[in-house]
Amino acid sequence: MKTTYCFVRHRLLKAWLTLCAALAGTLPTAALADYTWNFPTPVTPIARDTLKIHNEFMIVITILFVVVFAIMVYSMIKHRKSSGHAPAKFTGPTGTVQWIWALVPFGILLFIDFVLMGIPAYHAVIDMEDTKTKADMVLKVTGMQWKWQYEYPESGVKFISTMSTPRDQIANKAEKGEHYLLEVDNEVVLPINKKVRILLTATDVIHTWWVPQFGVKRDGVPGFLREVWVKIEEPGVYRGQCAELCGKDHGFMPIVVRGVPEAEYIAWLDTKKAEQAAASAGSNRTWSKDELMAEGKAVYEKQCVACHQDAGQGLAPVFPALAGSKIVLGPLLSPEGKLIKDSHVDRVLNGKEGTAMQAFKTTLNDTELAAVITYERNAFGNNKGDFIQPAQIKALR
């Protein structure tokens, strides 16, 4: 604890120095180049269009601001009591000239609102919502607490993407990496120059999928499908985050998209398919307990640790402990090999409604489920001794 505190103090001190240096203008220009004053470089037609419109609007409103308040500041300087200005008595426009003075600004504003801004905005909206015309492929994105699932319906590839930044970096116990909080274990790969129709949904609460360089942001609403489209024009890695408060780890569910040439995309897809086939083949053989424990630990550390914590102690009072848990230490299956309601296996497979405990059978494969259940029953001092085979999980689906 004490070392953490010193470390924090050190970081605060460093930040103060950085700030003082920045304010004094002595910071090296290399560091200053990191400042971003505007949207990040756009890589899709929508993002490019949005940046253009945004820049134009910013100029328009800056001019409005300067002109209007220049008049006000002029008045504040000129019409002071201390400079002997005698107050006028008028309470409204008198005479044609003053009426023109009063009405012209509204004419201009009407023009700005509904022509200058209104017309490009109309086209931008229509373009943004046109997800279907000439769409080349579909990507389905499902938000869940606190990770994203990606699915390529045409090829059946489906995987979960979770943040890969180590917890030690967040707790300031380790140096933060370059892509701190914006890195994941499984990147989404998309072909460049293809119109990708993205279907969005969520399993628990509302999540918002946002990659700033794509210029799109759309909510995934549980029980509904939403859609947007992207056409990535530059190869590269693009990072974003969930943008709708979705509970505890809202700040820790990044999005990483890799845009690659089509050939590379197809090759990647084939690798993923092969991986998936191997994983599902795994559920047909019999696994040893040690194998399951090793695999289960890996799954646990990705899927479960955010709520149930490293040592299975949970986070009171919302996220229950697994260590010594009555549910975990309860019977595995009924004597006939059937699922027992509200048992450990039931919870992992079907979740608990109204909580962050989700139905993992929709996101994990049989092997992963069997492994993580086995792990939870035998780790954290639970030592239950029993274990479950992937084939048994398959039968329970």
């Binding site: 970081r11 605060l12 930040a15 950085t18 700030l19 990191d34 400042y35 971003t36 004053w37 949207f39 990040p40 949005t50 419109i53 945004h54 609007f57 910013m58 409103i61 209007v68 006000m72 008045s75 504040m76 019409h79 009591k81 107050p87 006028a88 008595k89 309470t91 409204g92 009063a102 600004p105 509204f106 504003l109 609102d113 801004m117 905005a121 931008a124 909206v125 229509i126 967040i170 707790a171 300031n172 933060k176 909080l181 509302i206 918002t208 946002w210 799109v216 942001k217 759309r218 609403v221 029980g223 509904f224 985050q241 943008a243 408060l245 509970g247 505890k248 700040g251 986070l315 962050a356």
Partner: protein, 532 residues
């Protein structure tokens, strides 16, 4: 405006009052209730401010230093609810209580007992809202509302007891607001001095009148929405659950049907205040009185038909997107009328720059930033970038801090000598203004940039490229927060003593309230003045 009678000083009434706390619990006097509203608002302003300083301290650097995300999520939502419902709204109601009877020549508010009830509902509501923090310390529940003040379902269906506490708190606050609104409407419609037609009504009262109607129109919708949330949480209904035929977006529609007018509910009384202050310190009559009144009405009507621009990214049909975009843009027109009239009121006046005038002018310029950024936010396509980002946070703090809080400060400095009978410390007042305005910009300007760069709102930790702007913002927020202690000190000093204030405190002041002594007698306008 002129009057023919001055109020008799009937201080002998005081002798009937019970002493101590009972007096404050039972008072039906609009001045005393007004003072209680204002003091309550000031206290809650510091409570809400302390919460957000803790948040800013956490955001000073990347990484989690001071708190866990669960607690962070509680602080941001409760900060908003406190600032809106327990600081800004009570402050405006305090103004209404003190000023509307004085300004329209009424002896008191029309419904004095309702008035007392309206105030005394507030402390229990504030306690309900914050109690879960304390309960969590004793191991009961998981803390306060952790969904942000918007309480979007299904996250709020999933939440702990804090959500239930917030729901009941909102119900009580809503009842308090409706009672206050009914009182304002009845008072303005029935207790105006003889000869004061609606078109001679002080513009502050007009602003409040529209606010009162908006509150009565929208608070029941919010109350309905949170009640549906309550039944979804505990009684098996599925209003917001797709699996049972509901829709999570329904909650957003209902919430923002209240939430957008709420912005104008907070601002209209202050827009009503501005012309008085500007006219006073420009020594010139209000410009475009009628135009401003009609603009208030237009904004009031428009405000209830633009709500969905708060969730453009939720996936609305194209037709709805276009409608809500253009109707939102249309609000800029009546708002521009107000800006025009404010500047024209100053134009060719003989201005002096006492603290209330400084705050009024600061209000106008910075509220201008809110208005202009609001205009670009209306663009659906660009909004896809701004939405849920720090750009929006900066935008609405320019509206609700520079517009709301600084508007309240304008009113406090403007009327404090009238209320206390003493002049406030002008030097400290000006120091307070400059510190506030500079540190406010230091806090929120960087948030525009960090939002454009892609930082989402409501995150307890952030990527490294956002570090510098967040550090600046945190430094600004601490200066801003601590500068407000000067405000509290100035008010305290002014209540305790100071140079005697005249009845007409300001040279250019015009209106019935300035015909009374400072402070006015406990019962004023027992004989109504006649307005010609």
């Amino acid at each position: 405006m002129s009057q023919t009678t001055t109020a008799p000083h009937d201080t002998h009434h005081d002798t009937h009052y019970p002493g101590g706390i009972t007096r404050w619990l039972t008072t039906t006097n609009h001045k005393e209730i007004g003072s209680m509203y204002l003091i309550f608002a000031l206290i809650m302003f510091f409570v809400g401010g302390a919460m957000i300083l803790a948040v800013r301290a956490e955001l000073f650097q990347p990484g989690l230093q001071l708190m866990q995300p669960e607690f962070f999520n509680q602080l941001i939502g409760i900060h908003a609810l406190i600032m809106i419902f327990a600081a800004l709204m009570p402050a405006a109601t305090g103004f209404a209580n003190w000023q509307i009877p004085l300004m329209i020549g009424a002896p008191d508010m029309a419904l004095p007992r309702i008035n007392n009830l309206g105030f005394w509902l507030l402390p229990p509501a504030a306690i309900l809202l914050t109690l879960p923090f304390l309960l969590a310390v004793f191991g009961i529940g998981d803390g306060a509302l952790n969904t942000g003040w918007t309480m979007y379902a299904p996250l709020s269906v999933q939440g702990g007891i804090g959500v239930d506490f917030a729901i009941f708190s909102i119900h009580i606050l809503g009842i308090s607001s409706i009672l206050g609104s009914i009182n304002v409407i009845v008072t303005i419609f029935n207790l105006r001095a003889p000869g004061m037609t609606m078109m001679k009504l002080p513009i502050f009262a007009w602003g409040w009148l529209i606010t009162a109607f908006l509150l009565i129109a929208t608070i029941p919708v919010l109350a309905g929405a949170v009640t549906m949330l309550l039944t979804d949480r505990h009684f098996g209904t599925h209003f917001f659950n797709a699996a049972g035929g509901g829709d999570p977006i329904l909650f957003q529609h209902l919430f923002w049907f209240f939430g957008h007018p709420e912005v104008y509910i907070l601002l209209l009384p202050l827009w009503g205040l501005m012309p008085h202050v500007l006219a006073t310190f420009s020594r010139k009559p209000i410009y475009g009185y009628k135009a401003q009144v009609y603009s208030f009405i237009a904004i009031g009507l428009l405000s209830v038909v633009v709500w969905a621009h708060h969730f453009f990214t939720a996936g609305l049909p194209v037709g709805a997107l276009l409608y809500f975009m253009y109707s939102t843009m249309a609000i800029s027109l009546p708002l521009a009328v107000l800006f025009f009239c404010w500047i024209a009121t100053m134009w060719k006046g003989a201005m002096t720059f006492e603290t209330p005038m400084l705050f009024a002018q600061g209000f106008i310029i910075m509220f201008g930033v809110a208005g202009l950024t609001g205009l670009v936010l209306a663009d659906v396509a660009a909004d896809a970038q701004y939405h849920h980002s720090y750009f929006v946070i900066a935008h609405f703090h320019f509206a609700l801090f520079a517009g709301g809080i600084m508007g309240v400060m304008t009113g406090v400095y403007y009327w404090l000598p009238k209320w206390t009978g003493h002049m406030y410390d002008e030097k400290l007042g000006k120091l307070h203004f400059w510190l506030t305005v500079i540190s406010f910009n230091l806090t929120f300007m960087p948030q525009f940039f960090v939002g454009l760069a892609g930082m989402p709102r409501r995150i307890p930790d952030y990527a490294l490229q956002f570090t510098e702007f967040n550090a600046i913002s945190t430094v600004g927020s601490f200066i801003l927060g601590f500068s407000q202690l000067i405000f509290a000190w100035v008010i305290y000093k002014c209540i305790k003593g100071g140079e005697k204030a005249e009845g007409r405190v300001w040279e250019g002041a015009d209106g019935l309230e300035w015909e009374l002594s400072s402070p006015p007698p406990l019962h004023s306008w027992n004989t109504p003045p006649v307005v010609k």
